[in-house]
């Protein structure tokens, strides 16, 4: 008879990794299942020159139609789209970016780490749209305080209500002249700026920051290559009692048992597992008495390189470190006090300079182009917009029973469209960024407001959302299922709305908070 674990954790990325870190170290016996292999960095990677790759760095045509981040160097790391199919309506593509390996997407994340504020948690109070989270900044702040040092976040505290200060290492690095000029242009319009805020270290993944300590406790059993198909329910109690998984390589099926189930397989995979976990009691998917499971999918929209400019004084190799290089971040500044725009909510920018602008922006070719490229070496300055996409019921996922993955598990059909609000915001961001660059004395060579397709920002959120009302949400304020009290969903699927901030720091804080709640409830005998 197989062991019954205290806690089954599904997924080993930010969400699952943090749950294991809290629960195993506190003495709970944990089993962690992850669909992907355990990576040995030394064996898995070799240094190669680009010309020795079969496609000279272009990548195999058609291999990753939806993962623009994949390069020929790291193509083998991303989830194979043929083994892991999904679909969307042809007119509304969704770019689902996945890594199936122990550590999940934290093996590759960009590490930008910002706190959410009550402009997000209580967004409805500000503008009347959507729903508030059932928790507020005060609930999560103590957990942010603890997570930031764990992942070694560095940045600057500016005392901005929309971008709360962190318990972080302070970045004292000086700004280059071009960055100072941009900051001065922002200041004239009361637009705040700050340094980027990022996790530091060679690798900032759950595989080096969370899982080692959890394993060291002796209480975590880590099983890679275990593709979870469904969470099982005890028909007598209606409580979750384990899961069924398929071995990735042999395709053999297994059952495991646990007293508590923590789901952290990433936003859409967690939702998919719940939708696929049907029983007589939960015919529409596990924990779906509200009927909202799968709904309110959103992300952050990106306008990559919304403006690309040239710093004229840097032309002809005169850039150098003092003038060019470095960058920063513009926190959300629209609609904070009043809603005085044609759109709700707002956007942020990442900005930076010192690169050579792409030749595709220049209406030249041949020697003329090469000459101009030489002139433009290191002169580029650009901004990328990250905007809040509104959570809407009409953006949702559902199961496609007849399209199955390599392991026979029904796949997702994803519907997410940007609406007028996102389009208006993207346009405003382009116009304002162009004006700021011009004010700073830069020469704008390209500007556009074309958002990347939904999903491409890799910040997909919602679908298993929290809420105070069990009739319109799946989880309560502790990431706990309203319907099944020993089931917790601790990843980005639980978000009610997402602001403009990259979500992982919040996922880590939510997972830590939920895991400590599980410990507390177990101590009280409530779980």
């Amino acid at each position: 008879m197989a062991k019954t674990y205290d806690v089954l954790i599904i997924g080993s990325g930010a969400a699952g990794g943090m749950a294991a870190w809290v629960l195993a170290r506190a003495g709970a016996s944990c089993l962690m299942l992850d669909a992907g292999p355990l990576i040995d960095y030394d064996k898995q990677r070799v240094m190669k020159p680009v010309y020795d790759l079969p496609y000279r760095g272009f990548g195999k045509p058609g291999r990753f139609p939806h993962v623009t981040q994949a390069s020929e160097f790291d193509a083998n790391l991303w989830a194979d789209e043929k083994q892991n199919p999904y679909s969307y309506d042809k007119s509304d593509p969704f770019y689902w970016v996945r890594i199936r390996a122990v550590g999940g997407k934290t093996l590759r994340w960009g590490r930008a780490s910002w706190r959410l504020s009550d402009h997000v948690f209580k967004a409805k109070d500000h503008d009347g749209f959507g729903d508030n989270w059932p928790i507020g900044y005060r609930d999560l702040a103590p957990f942010y305080d603890r997570v930031e040092p764990m992942i070694h976040v560095m940045g600057r505290n500016e005392g901005l209500p929309q971008m709360p200060d962190g318990n972080i290492q302070i970045d004292e690095s000086p700004d280059s002249e071009s960055v100072k000029r941009f900051i001065a242009a922002c200041r004239k319009r009361d637009i705040p700026t700050t340094k980027s805020r990022r996790a530091t270290g060679t690798l900032a993944s759950s595989t080096n920051l969370l899982l080692p300590a959890a394993l060291e406790s002796g209480n975590l059993t880590l099983t890679p290559n275990a593709v979870v198909r469904e969470i099982t329910i005890d028909p007598a109690t209606g409580l979750a009692n384990g899961a069924v998984f398929v071995d990735r390589r042999s395709k053999n099926e297994y059952e495991v048992k646990a007293r508590v189930v923590v789901l952290g397989a990433s936003t859409l995979e967690s939702c998919r597992i719940l939708l696929n976990s049907k029983s007589t009691r939960f015919a529409q998917g596990l924990g779906n008495s509200s009927g909202t499971l799968g709904q309110y999918l959103f992300d952050q929209f990106y306008v990559k390189n919304v403006v690309t400019a040239v710093v004229p004084e840097a032309r002809g190799g005169k850039g150098g470190r003092g003038l060019m290089g470095g960058g920063g971040y513009v926190p959300r500044f629209r609609n904070l006090q009043r809603n005085d725009r044609k759109f709700l909510r707002g956007y942020a920018w990442d900005f930076g300079g010192g690169f050579t602008p792409s030749p595709r922006y220049l209406p030249l070719y041949g020697e003329e182009l090469l000459k101009e490229m030489n002139e433009l070496q290191g002169t580029g300055f650009s901004l990328t917009t990250m905007g809040e996409a509104l959570p809407r019921k009409e953006n949702f996922v559902r199961i496609q029973p007849d399209v199955k993955d390599e392991w026979g598990i029904p796949s997702l059909h994803i519907t997410q469209k940007y609406g007028d609000n996102e389009y208006a915001m993207a346009k405003d961001s382009m116009e304002t960024a162009s004006e700021l660059c011009t004010d700073a004395g830069f020469q704008v060579i390209a500007a556009h407001s074309q958002m990347v397709p939904p999903g491409e920002s890799i910040h997909e959120l919602g679908t298993v959302r929290m809420g105070a009302d069990p009739k319109s949400s799946v989880l309560n304020g502790w990431n706990q299922s309203h319907d099944v009290r020993n089931l917790f969903v601790v990843d980005g699927s639980s978000f009610v709305c997402g602001g403009v901030q990259n979500p992982t720091l919040t996922i880590l804080a939510l997972s830590m908070r939920a895991s400590e709640y599980i410990l507390d409830q177990r101590r009280k005998g409530a779980l």
Partner: protein, 188 residues
């Protein structure tokens, strides 16, 4: 890869013969043998483009990404032959864009100058390549020929910069190995 081996492989030089080494070390039981990649020893055979299309692409390569000083251009980098392979592997829409685009270069040249694009002078070619002088827009141009020209410009540049001969030229100049990256082997 060690720097010496890297430079050897860039230049496609054979490994030093054992006799040239001063004190030959005993051969390890599991030796790492020096290897040379296919494109350093062979000429790729044509795949997709017909003779006239290839001739137009070669000419285009020379016009768009010419040799500059000791930096090889697209022709020296074998970019046209590489694109013949890459586009041959691509989907039908991309193959068509390229093939129609190359045909159009020839038909425009025939219409304007009564000769194939290959034989057009740089000034004559400029009129045909006029869409490349258009201002950048995010959305690709609606006209497929203009779209082809934008794409082939990017592709020829990247295929050149990512080539073995280009890396060799850059390494000679700056003593740094160009285009190295951590390659992920297939996950088991």
């Amino acid at each position: 890869m060690k720097r010496r081996r890297l430079l050897q492989s860039i230049a496609a030089l054979p490994a030093l013969p054992a006799a040239a080494q001063t004190a030959p070390a005993p051969a390890p039981e599991f030796p790492k043998l020096a290897e040379t990649a296919a494109d350093a020893v062979g000429q790729p055979r044509g795949r997709l483009f017909g003779r006239d299309q290839m001739a137009a692409l070669e000419k285009l390569a020379d016009l768009l990404m010419p040799k500059a000083g000791d930096r090889p251009g697209a022709v020296e980098a074998g970019a046209p032959a590489f694109l013949d392979f890459l586009i041959g592997e691509s989907n039908a829409a991309r193959r068509k864009l390229y093939q129609d685009g190359l045909d159009r270069l020839n038909s425009e040249s025939a219409r304007l100058y009564s000769k194939p694009f290959r034989d057009a002078s740089a000034t004559e070619a400029k009129a045909i390549l006029a869409p490349l002088a258009a201002k950048w827009t995010y959305a690709p141009p609606a006209d497929p020929f203009a779209r082809f020209l934008k794409e082939v410009k990017d592709d020829l540049m990247q295929a050149t910069i990512n080539s073995r001969v280009y890396a060799a030229a850059v390494s000679r100049r700056s003593r740094s190995a160009a285009g190295m990256g951590a390659y992920w082997l297939p996950l088991d």
